[in-house]
């Protein structure tokens, strides 16, 4: 499973690209595989102020809706219209075309509280049922 080393990760399976102006956020390959059939994505409005760990978006599969939490605090500065138009992009390319939104971080140090690719790999390996 792909876990790009340049990204940071949350326990709730979001990834963030560390950047002080536009930190892009999406869901990990593990989350994408668990959700499987993404059919609807709801993104936050531009300019919205968000706090680390707060639900800011929703990704719905056929079976259920899942909250997406802000990996860091800041302002929503970009959202990806492609995923609201074609939600399955999230399944096809979760680290690329399937990104969800971008945050301008208000507390840049917060990103250091997130997991590295190595730590995240350990997390999902320990979560595997069998």
């Amino acid at each position: 499973m792909q876990i790009p080393p340049a990204l940071r990760y949350t326990k709730t399976h979001e990834w963030i690209f560390p950047d002080e102006h536009e930190a892009m956020v999406g869901i990990t390959a593990h989350a994408q595989e668990e959700l499987r059939d993404v059919v609807y994505v709801e993104l936050p409005p531009l300019g919205k102020q968000v706090n680390q760990g707060e639900p800011v978006a929703v990704v719905e599969s056929v079976k259920a809706a899942f909250d997406i939490y802000a990996p860091v605090s800041g302002t929503i500065v970009k959202t990806n219209a492609a995923v609201t138009q074609s939600p399955q992009v999230v399944n096809k390319d979760c680290y690329g075309e399937g990104w969800l939104f971008a945050i301008q971080p208000s507390r840049p140090s917060e990103v250091n509280t997130l997991m590295t690719a190595d730590a995240y790999t350990k997390l999902i390996t320990s979560e595997q049922p069998s």
Binding site: R36, V39, Y40, A65
Partner: protein, 374 residues
């Protein structure tokens, strides 16, 4: 609590299926993707293990009389070799279960019941026996395999060597080639053409393996309960326990066509007559969203800020490419094109009431349920 497992459980695990707990049964939710399996059934063929459902044999001189007292439909109009979709009610007119009765012979019927209702239905049928009749739960050691989709007929004939081309919708026939005490019926829960096979476990394992091994090049895929749910919703078919239960009558659920109200008697008849006289207080409708999230069980339906009903089922329709749902509303709001508001996570989305089914099929063949009247 240990989970119930079907005879095909090992095959599902071997295919790496995502498993789910369905009323105490560990069943495949999907193998690769709900959406892919859904499309495969609409365009090719899907194989479903639905062995969690109960198989109850009702036979003996009083078989027909017994079932005619239990079911809302006129079972005496169902000829030998035919089947009908119907329901059992309590004395208050509430739906105890929706079932398909397969009339194997004059006084010999196979009743397929929902898994969560299996014990209750068997007891109900035992209690209401009329004359010399035996009610036997024959589910143990037996399976049900549903083969659904436009290619299901050729799959059965060419790959499994089962002659089914002569079967019309809701016909049932004994198939010795599938095992002893094995039947094939042209029924299903998807809205597409298809067949259901009622057969011993060992034969089910053989059929499952052969169909998937030899059919893989012909768009035959295993399909799980996830696709079964999206398919039945597209076809406008109700799910017992979700869209109807003992608090709803067949009229509430807009399934009045199943009711033979002129039959001399059946359990729940007086209650239905009273309801007919009084009028309905709510009715099940289908609705769709032009654009928006997926309606889920329990979500509120409003008109001008006032709650008028609740969603019972919802999903994303892969064929229509939009969200669809069913729910109960005040009868005055049940007309197609009526606009309601759906509340999802505190936001309001307009939905339009539409006539069921959402998806009417491609071959011009009437939908499965409408055929069940015969």
């Amino acid at each position: 609590m240990t989970m119930n497992k079907t005879a095909l459980h090992g095959f599902h695990r071997a295919l790496n299926a995502k498993m789910t707990d369905f009323h105490g049964w560990e069943m495949p939710l999907y193998y690769t993707s709900i959406l892919e399996e859904h499309q495969a059934v609409r365009t090719g063929a899907g194989m479903f293990d639905i062995s969690h459902m109960g198989q109850v044999r009702v036979s003996g001189p009083g078989a027909l009389e017994t079932l005619n007292e239990l079911a809302v439909s006129d079972v005496s109009n169902v000829g030998a070799g035919r089947a009908c979709y119907t329901m059992f009610l309590n004395e208050q007119g509430g739906i105890l279960d929706d079932v398909i009765i397969y009339r194997l012979d004059r006084q010999d019927c196979l009743v397929i019941v929902n898994c969560a209702r299996r014990a209750g239905d068997v007891e109900w049928m035992q209690t209401h026996r009329r004359g010399a009749v035996e009610v036997r739960d024959i589910s143990a050691g037996r399976s049900i395999v549903a083969v659904q989709g436009p290619r299901s007929g050729s799959l059965l004939e060419e790959i499994l060597g089962v002659r089914v081309s002569g079967l019309g919708r809701f016909d049932v026939v004994a198939v010795p080639a599938l095992g002893t005490q094995a039947w094939a019926a042209r029924t299903g829960y998807t809205g597409s053409d298809g067949f259901e096979l009622f057969l011993p476990d060992l034969d089910a394992q053989r059929v499952w393996t052969q169909a998937l091994e030899r059919g893989r090049s012909q768009d035959v895929v295993p399909a799980g309960l996830g696709a079964r749910d999206t398919l039945r919703l597209e076809a406008g078919l109700r799910l017992y326990g979700t869209d109807m239960d003992t608090t709803t009558t067949p009229y509430d659920a807009d399934l009045g066509w199943t009711v033979a109200i002129n039959k001399p008697s059946f359990i729940g008849k007086e209650a239905l007559l009273r309801q007919s006289a009084q009028g309905l207080s709510r009715r099940l409708v289908g609705f769709e969203l032009a654009d928006g999230p997926v309606p889920r069980h329990g979500f509120a339906l409003l008109v001008d800020g006032r709650q008028v009903g609740r969603v019972t089922s919802g999903t994303f329709s892969p064929v229509l490419n939009k969200s669809i749902g069913m729910g109960y509303v005040e009868p005055s709001l049940a007309r197609p094109s009526t606009t309601l508001q759906l509340i999802v996570r505190g936001k309001t989305y307009p939905v339009a009431v539409v006539k069921l089914p959402f998806w009417k099929g491609t071959s011009g063949a009437p939908a499965a349920v409408a055929q069940g009247k015969g």
